[in-house]
């Protein structure tokens, strides 16, 4: 079991001697092998949530646990996929992917096997010796996802992973992620500001309030997806055309928009 649990998490930031609340009582559970998308208005603290789960930051109060253990710092059991990829530009694709395994002392032949397995899964064959700057944004993000997946982490933390990609590449990557999740399901916390991406990819969508962030509403996509048999459709545009999809998307939008409109006043 490798659930991600936020228990009454508060996070304050200090700036110019003043203290600002970023998160105010976040409660959220991402169940084992579940994909939860976190959406919210800009600056609501969704990235802070992810960074707390990653261990890059610590909560001011409350606690974050992954697989039952409190998060004390970053580690390979919680692999992160960054919006800006954060691949090592001086390492080849294969070396970038193998880096985490080398840290864990995985023997060379096992490492080789796992790396080539994930390279095949991510459609990166033929690019093993290329350097990140020689690849398109979409291909770079494939490498970043491969680098996270190959660790077989308890949790995958994705911070607007497709935010830096163009619209077409984005759609391809969204389909890819669904395909990979079928082959190798993981517990995933997924941050996005794109509502249709959230509804398409997630089992549940958690909507946050504007800053200071809390979880405002959680939509159950999984039961709708199963009930309306979204999986019959191979293509993303067909899924997004379904009435049940449109309904969920509109609902999420409205929920988000209330926060944004409020923020203007």
């Amino acid at each position: 079991m490798s659930a991600i649990v936020f228990e009454n998490v508060h996070r304050r930031f200090e700036r110019d001697g003043k203290s600002f609340p970023a998160l105010e009582g976040v409660n959220l559970t991402v169940a084992d092998k579940e994909v939860v998308a976190l959406v919210g208005p800009s600056g609501c603290g969704k990235t802070t949530c992810l960074r707390l789960a990653a261990g890059f930051e610590v909560p001011t109060s409350g606690r974050v646990t992954v697989g039952g253990a409190p998060v004390t710092g970053p580690g390979p059991d919680r692999a992160v996929v960054f919006q800006q990829f954060a691949l090592f530009p001086w390492k080849s694709v294969a070396d970038n992917i193998a880096f985490g395994l080398r840290n864990q002392g995985v023997p060379a032949n096992t490492r080789q096997e796992r790396v080539s397995g994930i390279i095949k899964l991510m459609g990166l064959e033929g690019y093993e010796t290329a350097f990140p700057h020689q690849l398109s944004g979409g291909m770079q993000q494939r490498v970043a996802i491969a680098r996270a997946y190959v660790l077989d982490p308890e949790a995958l933390l994705m911070d607007e992973p497709f935010g830096a990609l163009d619209a077409q590449t984005r759609i391809v990557m969204q389909e890819e992620l669904v395909r990979i999740a079928r082959v190798n399901p993981r517990t995933v916390l997924f941050i996005t500001h794109a509502v249709d991406e959230a509804v398409y990819l997630a089992d549940r969508v958690a909507v946050m309030t504007r800053r200071p962030g809390r979880i405002k509403e959680i939509l159950d996509v999984r039961s709708v997806r199963a009930g309306e048999q979204w999986n019959r459709h191979e293509r993303i545009e067909d899924v997004m055309d379904l009435e049940s999809f449109v309904h969920l998307r509109t609902h999420t939008w409205r929920s988000l928009r209330e926060e944004k409109i409020d923020a203007v006043h």
């Binding site: 580690g75 692999a79 090592f88 530009p89 001086w90 880096f99 840290n103 700057h133 020689q134 660790l151």
Partner: protein
């Protein structure tokens, strides 16, 4: 008809202008020195210099031929520069990584780094002698600051996403420094090495003017004592050319590193 003032020139045009500039300089030099306007001992003609240079290539002066003097200078230079890089780069990186070390070293370093290398000559001679130790210290003091500063900047301002990526991949502290911080800082380090190499070479000649017993600087001092101004100019040309070669070589290396990194 008005024309734009700063139209970019083609490569050929730029090259031709460079030749024109150089030719004018040599021409002016030739006219002044050959006309007798200035006594020959004060300013040799370009032809005197060329003749003297060829002579020095084979005939020893002040105990050695010009190539032998150069070899001696390059030996000192190599030691001094390598020492500066070997101390400056790791120290700079450590200062960039450990904030407390930065706080300790920076005031001392800022206090010392504006002192010209040649100002160290008296102490260099006292502490390390006028053979090889003294000049090495002078070269070191010239080459060290850029090596340290660029390594420091590289490490201090490394993109935080690489460090976070390394951390979430379970990288130990030592491996983060060796496998992430060092390569991430590498373009900055190489740029600093290039600047340090140039400053070190400039300092060497200053040091040798005073302390050495062989080397290009020494040869020039001996030339001055013997009122052989062509020897002095031959030394200047040798210094200039070798300095240029060092710079070109390191520039190539820097460009290579940047290309591999996808920065250029």
């Amino acid at each position: 008809m008005a024309s734009p003032v700063n139209l970019p020139l083609s490569k050929i045009e730029g090259f031709i202008l460079g030749i024109v500039g150089l030719a004018s300089f040599l021409g002016l030099w030739f006219v002044i020195s050959a006309s007798g306007l200035v006594p020959r001992q004060f300013l040799p003609t370009p032809l005197d210099v060329v003749a003297r240079t060829f002579h020095l290539l084979t005939e020893p002066f002040a105990g050695a031929t010009l190539p032998m003097h150069l070899a001696k200078s390059l030996e000192r230079y190599t030691y001094g520069f390598l020492l500066a890089a070997a101390v400056g780069v790791p120290l700079g990186m450590a200062m960039g990584w450990f904030r407390w070390l930065d706080d300790i070293v920076t005031p001392i370093f800022d206090g010392l780094r504006f002192i010209a290398p040649i100002a160290w000559v008296p102490f260099a001679a006292l502490w390390f002698g006028t053979g090889i130790g003294g000049p090495i210290m002078i070269i070191f003091s010239g080459a060290f600051p850029p090596c340290l500063i660029s390594a420091y900047r590289g490490a201090r301002y490394v993109d935080g996403k690489y460090i976070e990526a390394a951390q979430m991949l379970g990288t130990s502290n030592l491996r983060t420094i060796v496998d992430v911080l060092l390569p991430a800082s590498f373009p900055s380090i190489v740029a600093g090495l290039r600047v340090g190499a140039g400053l070190g070479w400039q300092s060497l000649v200053g040091a040798e003017l005073i302390v050495a017993s062989a080397g290009v600087g020494y040869m020039m001092v001996q030339g001055q004592s013997n009122v052989s101004t062509p020897t002095v100019v031959a030394g200047m040309i040798a210094i200039g050319l070798v300095g240029l070669l060092i710079d070109v070589a390191l520039r190539q290396m820097e460009a290579f590193v940047r290309r591999r990194r996808g920065l250029a």
